[in-house]
């Protein structure tokens, strides 16, 4: 391992808080561009409300398309935060420190964006009170708790609450730090959000306990969220290729696969945009790469199993569906893109230390994984619908239309914009956590060489 620099606290404060307090020159043009893409998405949504969902490419067999694909995609991305923060925190993995907040933020913004998609997707968004706000006391008519579409919002809002708390707890000391170093409106803002954090021993203790408790409590939620999303499909008896019992773990591990890749993307962007090369180092990418290697292979195992189960069932329709997904144009093209970008590009490359330590390579691979994972969801959702049932006349196909593509693009812009605006107000690397790492840091002699290590009681 390369030797780590010892940094003073003042240096860390300056480096990590600086970009938050001073707006970089590229910021407003980039934010403006992203905002205009989001606006285009909002206009498309308005158009869809006004004219009807006929503007999409959806049709009678294929009632769900790009919107649901993107919904599942963003819920998947949101699994990065807890995977990185909670599991690595509980496992006391030291390299997590600069990564955690980026991952948690990604969770919050990806999940909020995902939660928008069911609203965009439905035919009458103005009637959503029957669905999300089930407090219809005058009529005493309630939502249907047997529907996975009721489990979904429950899971997502629980997860969103947990993840937001997670971010907030970890931000408290940094709020206090920023409060003490700012004046004007920022000072007032930080005073309010830091909830009177003064850095007393008791406060630190409570903050640490809250972090550990949340880590442990959010784990079951983390597993349940994508399981429940998978049941949106797995409980549908009438669609070939949807009703697989393996869907829940398959979706969860796929979510971690795409989520961790997205964290790599965000880390590389943060490194380049804010020049934090002393904090985000190639060893972090190395560790993330190793984690991804394990997760990616595990995910592929589930993908393979899902295929094998389909084959072993020897059900005619199931076999025909697999045949269509893999060999029939244009599904075969999508399948090829998916399997190459999500598996055959990343997994072999991650095996090489040099690739894992090259930030550019990791950045490009992480984007490739997420391209592949979007297509994976698309290939799960659409082909099964396209040739759903034995009535040959009602088979169909589906191609996303401009409104759908714009809204999907806008969702990406929305997540990036959210993250960017966040960095304007709050530091995206946990400053106190970095300092803690510095304090615990110890050089350990192993034989003749000295390696960086960690001192713990």
């Amino acid at each position: 391992m390369e030797a780590r620099e010892r940094l003073t606290e003042a240096q860390i404060n300056e480096d990590l808080l600086g970009p938050t307090l001073r707006t970089p020159r590229w910021f407003w043009p980039v934010a403006g561009f992203l905002a205009s893409v989001v606006l285009a998405g909002a206009v498309s949504f308005g158009l869809m409300i006004n004219r009807g969902l006929g503007l999409t490419g959806l049709n009678r067999p294929v009632m769900w398309g790009a919107f649901i694909t993107t919904f599942v995609f963003w819920v998947g991305i949101s699994h990065a935060g807890v995977m990185i923060s909670s599991i690595l925190r509980l496992a006391q993995a030291e390299w997590r420190r600069p990564v955690t907040r980026a991952a948690e933020l990604l969770t919050v913004f990806a999940l909020s964006t995902a939660a928008l998609f069911p609203l965009i997707h439905v035919g009458r968004p103005w009637r959503l009170m029957y669905w999300f706000l089930p407090y219809d006391f005058p009529r005493m008519v309630w939502p249907n708790v047997r529907s996975p579409l009721i489990w979904d919002p429950a899971a997502i809002f629980t997860y969103l609450t947990g993840a937001s708390l997670f971010v907030f707890i970890a931000l408290l000391p940094d709020f206090a730090l920023a409060r003490d170093r700012t004046r004007g409106w920022r000072h007032k803002l930080y005073s309010v959000v830091s909830l009177g954090f003064r850095g007393s021993l008791r406060q630190w203790k409570l903050q640490a306990i809250a972090g550990i408790l949340l880590s442990a409590l959010i784990l079951p939620v983390f597993v349940s969220v994508h399981s429940i999303v998978s049941w949106d499909f797995a409980v549908a008896m009438s669609v070939e290729g949807w009703h697989a019992t393996i869907f829940a773990p398959y979706f969860v591990i796929g979510a971690v696969h795409s989520g961790v890749a997205a964290v790599v993307t965000i880390m590389a962007l943060m490194l380049w945009l804010f020049g934090w090369k002393r904090y985000i180092r190639s060893e972090h990418f190395d560790s993330l790469g190793k984690l991804e290697l394990a997760v990616g292979i595990g995910w592929f195992y589930f993908f393979f199993l899902e295929f094998v189960f389909g084959m072993v069932s020897l059900e005619g329709a199931e076999l025909a569906l697999k045949d269509m997904q893999m060999f029939q144009w244009p599904w075969s093209l999508l399948f090829g893109i998916f399997i190459v970008t999500a598996f055959f590009i990343p997994i072999p490359l991650w095996m090489f230390r040099r690739v894992r330590r090259s930030i550019l390579a990791m950045f490009l691979i992480s984007i490739s994984v997420n391209i592949g994972m979007w297509f994976e969801r698309f290939l799960i959702i659409v082909p099964g619908l396209a040739r759903k049932q034995p009535f040959a006349f009602t088979w169909g196909s589906y191609a996303p239309q401009p409104v759908e593509l714009i809204i999907v693009a806008a969702s990406f812009a929305l997540v990036l914009l959210g993250l960017l605006l966040f960095t304007r107000l709050f530091p995206p690397i946990p400053i106190y956590d970095m300092k803690e790492g510095q304090v615990l840091h110890k050089d350990i002699k192993v034989g003749r060489s000295t390696v960086p290590g960690i001192a713990r009681e």
Partner: protein, 237 residues
């Protein structure tokens, strides 16, 4: 309601009598204010036909025969569309109908995905009728707006009317008194509608028919519509 309903509506479709004339399709379209299907809606697979005639070919050329089967909502006992609706916009009533509650529907379209018979239709656009047809709309049936699902309910508006008449006269609905539009229009009497809780009704008496089968029975949906198999001396079965 603690009182069990006196009715359980069912339909019998005799494939042997069906000529594929599509009179039922037209009658249904007119009775239920179904949006007009134009060429584009068929090409984009968005046409709405609550009852449709599926045509398929049997045998190899030259011994090939065209077959017809009218497909409508099977009013399943164990309907897959019902549990997946988040808002109870579709549910089973005591009379064995699978009803779609239009004002309740938010349009998530899960029900359509989960229907093995493909008999649920989504309003992709706001339906429009030419001025000349506006006054032909049936006032007893809601005109569905964009963004909601719609489907066959055995012409529940006619059933309700029949039940009101019967209630006023203090009796049950008589067999044949209430007919859905498709049944009424069928020129060959291939469709029979009735109350299976009345053992004397025509539909009841056909329930044990030796040619009877249920569509996609193996999926476990418990379809309420009975089909009677084609009688064809040239082909086995």
């Amino acid at each position: 309601m603690a009182v069990e309903s006196q009715y359980k509506w069912t339909m019998v479709v005799d494939i042997d009598r069906c000529t594929g004339c599509q009179a039922c399709v037209v009658a249904c379209q007119a009775e239920n204010n179904i949006a007009l299907n134009d060429e584009e809606s068929f090409l984009r697979r968005r046409a709405m036909e609550w009852i449709r005639i599926e045509r398929y070919w049997e045998g190899e050329y030259p011994n090939i025969k065209a077959r017809f089967i009218p497909v409508l909502c099977q009013q399943c006992e164990n309907a897959p569309c019902e549990p997946v609706c988040p808002v109870y916009a579709t549910h089973h009533n005591e009379e064995g109908l699978n009803v779609q509650v239009y004002p309740r529907c938010v349009g998530v379209r899960f029900c359509a995905n989960n229907c093995p018979y493909q008999v649920r239709f989504f309003n992709w656009w706001e339906p429009v009728w030419p001025e000349s047809l506006r006054n032909y709309l049936n006032p007893d049936v809601t005109v569905r707006s964009r963004g909601i699902m719609e489907k066959c309910m055995f012409c529940v508006q006619r059933i309700r009317r029949g039940q009101r008449v019967a209630a006023r006269e203090g009796r049950l609905v008589r067999d044949g008194e209430v007919l859905p539009a498709c049944v009424q229009a069928c020129p060959t009497n291939a469709l029979v509608f009735g109350n299976v809780k009345d053992p004397q009704s025509r539909a009841s008496r056909l329930m044990a028919h030796p040619r009877g089968y249920r569509l996609l029975k193996e999926t476990g949906t418990g379809p309420n519509v009975l089909y009677l198999k084609k009688v064809d001396p040239e082909f086995h079965g």
